[in-house]
Subunit: 361 residues, 2 copies
DNA sequence: TCCGGCATTGAATCCGGGT
DNA sequence: AACCCGGATTCAATGCCGG
C-alpha cells in the first residue's frame, strides 16, 4: 500500500483541522490551499484554538490578547500543515489586511519560504459606502514552500504563460468574486459567507499542481477547492468542522464531472523533458564527426568531434561551453546557439535533439 | 511660538531616524510616509536570458542578521513614529513580501489601526528571468491611524474620486516604476537603488493630507516625498543617515516649484466641508417654518419648525431622525430624503444646503 | 525629422541532477 | 556539503544610433 493509498482521498473529514492534519501521514500531500478565518474585527468574535470565545475587546490588553490568540491558532495550523506537506509541496493561504500580515509573519517564523505574494483584484468589489476609505478591492494570497532549500516545486510556468496570452503571469490576478449561479444557497440564504470563486482555485491548481496530485484544504467550507480539484483531475482532502458546510460541499462535488483527460493536458516546460546528450546525436549519425557548426549570424564556427565535443580555434568542450567561451558569456545553450547547413538552410541543432526524442517514444 | 513653528520644516535632518524622531515634539506631524529597508535576502547573482547582469539591491542598509533583528528595528521606528504623529494623523508604509508581513504585524501589535492595504501594481515590473515564479509585479502599502478610536482623519475622498474618473478609488493602484528622466543619477549611476516614483507620492499626499500639512519621512533617501510635498504645498521633514543621499535630495528639491495655489484646490470631500445645520437653512429663509416636506414618493410628510426640527404625526426631531423613524430605519440622510415643492417640482432639500455653502465661499 | 532596430534596465528571496 | 555542468529563461519603457 503506497503512502498515497493511505490517504482519505476525495473525502471530507469532520473535525478540528489541526487534530485531523496530525492524524494524516507526514510528507504526504502535494499542495495545500487554506482560507483560514480572517479574524475578529469584522465578525466581532474570535475563537481560541480550543474553540472558546474570546471576550469582547474593551482595552489594549484585551486587544493584544486577541491578536495573540489568533497568532497561536495560526502557528498551530501552519505547523500541522508543514508536517503533512511533501518536501517539494507548496502552501497557499488567502487573507485580507485583517489577518494576512500575521499569517505571513508566522509563516516566515516557522521556516516557510515565500515564493510570491499574489493579489486577487476583484472585478466587482463591494464599494466603501461611507466614503472613508479606498474601495477594499483585493485580497492577498501567499504562496510558499517548506523552506529555502525546497526543490522540484511544481510550477507550470508555460501553462500559465499560455493562459496569459503568452506573457509571463504576473502576481496580480483580476478575477470576479463568487456570485450569481456559482454562489451556493440554502433556502435562499448564502450557504457560506466567504465562498471563493472557482476561477481563483482553477488558476492556483493549474499553476502549482499536476493531475493526480493530492490537494489538502484544512478550511474546506462549502468545498470550492474540492469541486475544482475534481474538475481538474486532482484529488482533494477536505477538513471542516461544521456539518452544515460539509453537506453542502458533498452535494456540490457530487455533481462535478472531471474534465476529459485530453482537456487536462497542459503546456509542459522544456525542463521536464528527458535530457538528450549531444553525443547521442553524433552516435546516431544525425551529425557526423568533422562537420562544421556555426552560430546564427555566422560569427563563430566549430567542428564536431567523434565524442560529441566541439573544437573551435583555441577552445574545446561541450556545445554549451564552447558557445559560452567564444561569446565571452557566462553560459550558453548550445542546442539553440549552434546551427548546421541543411540543403543550403541554416538549422539549429535543437531540431536534431527533437528528432532523437521522437525516436525514443 | 506654535508647535508647528518648533518643527524643522522643509529640512533634512542627518542621522538615525529613531533618535531624530524622539527629538521632535510629540503629536506634531500630520502624516508619515515610510519606505523602510525591505530586508531582501538574495543569494548569488542573477543574469537575464541575454546573459546581462541584474544589478540588485545589495546595499549595506538593507542587511539584517535575522527576522528578529528586523522586527526589533521595525518596532523601534514604528513606536517613535507613533509618538510624533498627531492623534488624527496617519502613517503609510511601503514594502514587499520580504518585509511587509512583519511590518504589518508589528503595526497591529503597537496599536496602530489599519485603514487599508493598498497595492501598487507596476505597469513595467522586472520579469522573473528564470521562469520559476510569477512576475513580482506589485508592492504593498499599509495605511493606518494611531488606533481604532482616531477621529477626523484626512481622507480626500472626492478628490480621489474625481482623479479616478468619478469612480471611487480602489485599493489597487496602477502606476509605472521610476525610470527615464525622473530617475536621479550621479555620474551615470543611479543615485539610489530604490527611488520611488513621484506619482505614487502624489496620490498618497493628495489622498491623506492637505496643503500646509507637515509630512514626515524617516527614510528620506533621495527625497521623493520632499519633492512632491513641495510641489503640492505641503511641508516636509526628511530624516536620512547617508550624506550622499541628502546632497542629491537637497539639489532635487531646490529645483521644485510649488504648483499655483489655484491648481492645488481640489474637490473637497463633503465630509470635510463645513457642516451646515438644517436650522441655518430655515434661518436664512430658504425654507420657512410651517412648510411641508415629503419624501420622493410622497409616502411620508413632516412640517418644518422654527428651530429647524421636523414634526410628523407622532415624531419630532432632526430631519435625519424623523426620516429614519417614519421609515422604521436605523438611519436616514435627511438632506436627500426630504423634498419640498418648488414651482410644482419636487426638489431635495440638499440643494438648499449647497446654496448655503456657495454663499459661504 | 522620423522611424526602425538594438541596447539597457528595473527592491529578485529566480535550477536541478550528478559527482 | 560543495562543486560542476547541462541548459532553460524576459517585459515594458527609455535611449541611442543609423538611415
Amino acid at each position: 500500500m503506497t503512502q498515497k493509498q493511505k490517504l482519505p482521498l476525495d473525502r471530507i473529514l469532520k473535525g478540528d483541522c489541526i487534530e485531523l492534519m496530525n492524524s494524516l501521514p507526514e510528507n504526504s500531500v502535494d499542495m495545500i490551499f487554506a482560507d483560514p478565518p480572517y479574524n475578529m474585527q469584522l465578525s466581532g468574535e474570535l475563537r481560541r484554538p480550543d474553540d472558546s470565545f474570546v471576550d469582547a475587546v474593551t482595552d489594549h490588553w484585551d486587544q493584544f490578547d486577541s491578536f495573540e490568540a489568533y497568532d497561536t491558532f495560526t502557528r498551530a495550523w501552519l505547523a500541522a500543515a508543514k508536517r503533512v506537506l511533501k518536501d517539494n509541496g507548496t502552501l497557499w493561504v488567502i487573507g485580507s489586511y485583517h489577518n494576512i500580515f500575521r499569517v505571513g509573519a508566522s509563516l516566515q517564523d516557522l521556516g516557510y519560504w515565500i515564493l510570491n505574494d499574489v493579489i486577487w483584484r476583484k472585478t466587482n468589489p463591494m464599494p466603501n459606502f461611507r466614503g472613508t476609505r479606498f474601495t477594499n478591492a483585493h485580497e492577498t494570497l501567499i504562496w510558499c514552500s517548506k523552506g529555502p532549500e525546497a526543490r522540484n516545486l511544481t510550477f507550470n510556468y508555460d501553462a500559465l504563460k499560455v493562459m496569459n496570452d503568452d506573457v509571463q503571469m504576473r502576481s496580480d490576478w483580476h478575477l470576479p468574486i463568487c456570485s450569481g449561479g456559482e454562489r451556493l444557497k440554502v433556502e435562499g440564504e448564502k450557504a457560506h459567507t466567504t465562498q471563493k470563486p472557482e476561477s481563483l482555485l482553477y488558476r492556483i491548481l493549474t499553476a502549482a499542481s499536476n493531475p493526480g496530485d493530492v490537494i489538502l484544504d484544512p478550511f474546506f467550507g462549502t468545498g470550492t477547492t474540492g469541486a475544482v480539484a475534481r474538475k481538474l483531475g486532482r484529488h482533494f482532502i477536505g477538513l471542516e468542522r461544521e456539518e452544515k458546510y460539509i453537506s453542502v460541499a458533498l452535494e456540490r462535488i457530487r455533481k462535478v464531472r472531471q474534465l476529459p483527460a485530453d482537456d487536462l493536458e497542459f503546456t509542459r516546460s522544456k525542463r521536464q523533458e528527458p535530457r538528450i546528450p549531444f553525443g547521442s546525436v553524433v552516435e546516431r549519425g544525425l551529425l557526423s564527426a568533422g562537420q562544421i557548426l556555426f552560430d546564427s549570424r555566422k560569427r563563430y564556427k566549430a567542428k564536431v568531434r567523434a565524442d560529441g565535443s566541439l573544437v573551435a580555434s583555441d577552445v574545446t568542450g561541450s556545445i554549451h561551453k564552447v558557445g559560452a567561451q567564444l561569446q565571452g558569456a557566462s553560459s550558453c545553450n548550445g542546442w539553440t546557439f549552434w546551427h548546421f547547413d541543411a540543403e543550403g538552410k541554416s538549422v539549429a541543432i535543437d531540431v536534431l535533439r527533437q528528432q532523437v526524442r521522437a525516436e525514443m517514444n
